[in-house]
């Protein structure tokens, strides 16, 4: 699966029913913040499962059903949950859960139900947090996110648009790092063997990379200044990213749903 991360790619046209694309990016972020915070602290299995289901329902209705979305929801996320779940089950401290039934025994080693519970609770929590983040992540473009930060949160546009410009640096620097590594290998700069070789090698890459990066950033800054960037306190916005009634409704609906889940399940382990 290739997830192309072009933060600038425009949102493809979507049917009106796919409502996520028409929401303000901030609304999509704000709506999932309470649920995400709660998920960091809960320890049971049901709460993350319910939030996972909510996120899946919203995504399947509100986002376009592309192959990429289905692959993410049906393969990548479940696989990730299974991997993290198994991993944490094995890693969990057995002495804390040795009162629970043994699920599997190999020689002296026992896998307790409690360990399995801890592991999969962790996996599901991570899966649910990711699924909630995907609601905004899959349906928002980088420029729109910056615009909403500038328009609603009053982040200075000089910061917002500079950050957006900096996105363009990432693939360039990645390529440059590749070339530097190649060049150092040709020169035989392996840095020797042992535990310090790798850090020493990476330190060797940093100097040429930084020299190139600083030069590049300076040139970009000159080019932006030459085109009047930062000339006035504001700049023309061709696209308004308004915060409308439907954004308020969406945020309140998800907050209400989150509250309902918490009240119904009360997943704090003290009830």
């Amino acid at each position: 699966m290739t997830v192309t991360a072009d933060p600038f790619a425009p949102a493809p046209p979507a049917a009106p029913a796919r409502f996520l694309y028409r929401l303000n990016p901030l609304a999509k972020l704000a709506a999932v913040i309470p649920a995400t915070l709660v998920l960091v602290f809960v320890r049971d299995l049901t709460t993350p499962l319910v939030f996972l289901a909510i996120a899946y329902a919203v995504l399947l209705v509100g986002a376009r059903l592309t192959g990429r979305l289905l692959a993410l929801l049906l393969l990548a996320v479940p696989l990730g949950i299974a991997l993290v779940g198994c991993g944490f089950s094995l890693w969990a401290d057995a002495s804390l859960v040795d009162t629970t039934p043994v699920v599997l025994q190999v020689g002296d080693w026992r896998l307790y139900a409690g360990a399995l519970h801890t592991g999969f609770a962790t996996g599901l929590r991570l899966g649910a947090i990711i699924a909630l983040a995907l609601m905004a992540g899959l349906t928002t473009t980088g420029p729109d996110l910056v615009r909403s930060f500038v328009q609603q949160l009053r982040v200075p546009y000089r910061i917002g648009y500079t950050a957006l410009a900096a996105f363009r640096f990432v693939p360039r620097f990645a390529h440059e790092l590749d070339v530097i590594r190649q060049a150092h290998r040709v020169r035989g700069a392996s840095g020797g063997r042992g535990p310090f070789a790798a850090p020493a090698r990476w330190f060797g890459y940093v100097v040429p990379l930084l020299a190139g990066a600083i030069r590049h950033a300076e040139r970009v800054a000159l080019a932006m200044d030459a085109r009047a960037f930062g000339a006035y306190a504001g700049r023309t916005e061709r696209h308004d990213v308004p915060f409308r009634t439907r954004d308020v409704v969406f945020v309140l609906a998800l907050w209400a749903a989150s509250a309902a889940v918490l009240i119904a399940l009360f997943p704090w382990g003290i009830g």
Binding site: P10, P143, R168, E176, P208, A211, A228, R238
Partner: protein, 587 residues
Amino acid sequence: MPESPSPSARIRVDPVGDAPLLRVEGLAITHDGQPHAAPASVSFRVDRGEVVLVLGPSGSGKSTLALALDGLIPHDIPATLAGTVEVDGVRTVDTTVAALSTRVAMVFQDPDAQLVTGSLLDEVAFGPENLRLPVDEVHARAEDALRRVGLWHRRHENPDLLSGGGRQRLAIAAALAMGSPLLVLDEPTANLDPQGIEEVYATLAEVVAAGDRSIVLVEHNLDAAIGFVDRVVVLDQQGHLVADGPVDDVLRHRALDLHRLGVWLPTSALAALRLRAAGYTLEPLPLTPAELHDALASHPPLAASAIDPPRHPATGASAPDPIVRVRGLTLRRGRTEVLHDVSLDIGRGEFVAVVGANGAGKTTLLQAIAGVVPPPRGTVHVDGIDVARADARTLPSRIGFVFQNPEHQFIAHTVADEIAHGLRRLALADDDVRTRTDALLARFGLTDKADTHPFLLSGGQKRRLSVGTALVAGAPVLALDEPTFGQDRARADELLSLLAELNAAGTTIIVVTHDMQLVSEYADRVVVVDDGRVIAHGPTVDVFDDTALIERAGLRLPPLRRALRSLDAHPALARATRLADLPGVIS
């Protein structure tokens, strides 16, 4: 080259008032930390609708001058500015870069370093948005600018999807959208391949033809620019103004003076100067390949005895004792096959240029030959060893590789250590390392820089050091990837002269490059790569004889070949590929 309109046929914008669009008076700029001013004293003016070309040898301060025209110097770049730069009667020091941006728009050398957004439309709208123009006006300007450079139909794409020439055209559109009457372009084609250069100049020719903008062009690629220039301003090595006048007065009448100053003339003008010295009557001095061709076509042939026969460096047959032998080389990068069943012999002591369009696979071929990218076993042999099986100590003693950016391959903290590193890997005695390091430093003119950090060297010194480190282990073959990319003509020539010296002393040179005139000046043989295959390999003169093949590979003939091909009246000249092949010497 598309036809450029002659300057006189153009629509002129009537001057508004008396103030010229741009007035530069006694300008001297000293960068902080530099001992001398460059430019040192320059005065000229640009009127509305004029196209002015700024020429000068390396170090005369042409790019610095360009940066001063829109106030980036002194507002953004720390430098001391004496004299005056006045735009529309306003001194640049008294206003801001942002305010000047509506009068002067800039296009820089590196297309990647001036694009800041994620789509062509956003990019062109970026400047007008910063100027707080109404949305309708932003859209109108963006559409007009993109249409003028022929990119409107791609407006929703990411600029990364454009070729280098396309990105530079986008930068021109972004400058046009600022609505400024003056456009300043600083070496706009230095980072482009021949196709990109052609695209950018076709676009510029159209901007000039519309006649609504004045242009100041700093450029060393005169062969492409000369067609639509009105006036030429020339600086000397010290940054003083030495000439300012129409193309005819400056370039045609004072060509010899300019050449002696170290100013790069169009290849056709250089060729014509040589031919004049050999007794040809070429009046007025031809400046473009077409002019030279026409002048020679109507010129009676001189007696054959007056002409030195062109040098034929190598025969067409493959060398009997190849030092590089490639057989059935197929290479993949990810899922795509980038080289298909390539076979190639390079003879001992040859100077070979590998040319091809962007993405043809020429760099990959060079990297596979040098073992930078491991080739399959048995496919590449260099000086008798199989590159795929060679260990990290043996390979550097057979072939050295020089990357495009010398900084990338520096690994030590001093110049001397940089050289010594390669010798220590050979497990030599300390004394031996020291003597050989000293000898190499002397050979490359870096003795007094031995304790300097490699990053603090000048551009030319860095390049020499990178060549030195590649050769330190005694490799008989040197491979270089685009060593002249983004450099001015003088520095490129300095490097190529060094390579020619090494070649004369027996080193086999393989160089990947876009610069067709450099290829024809220095290389004995040319390898043409197209779509992962070698489609031609032979003596330079034979390869450039096949115009159809050159065009099919997405390349362009070097200017001298364009001027001299199919000159039936002068059979001896018709096969010359390098200036040195021509009779006559410029004194």
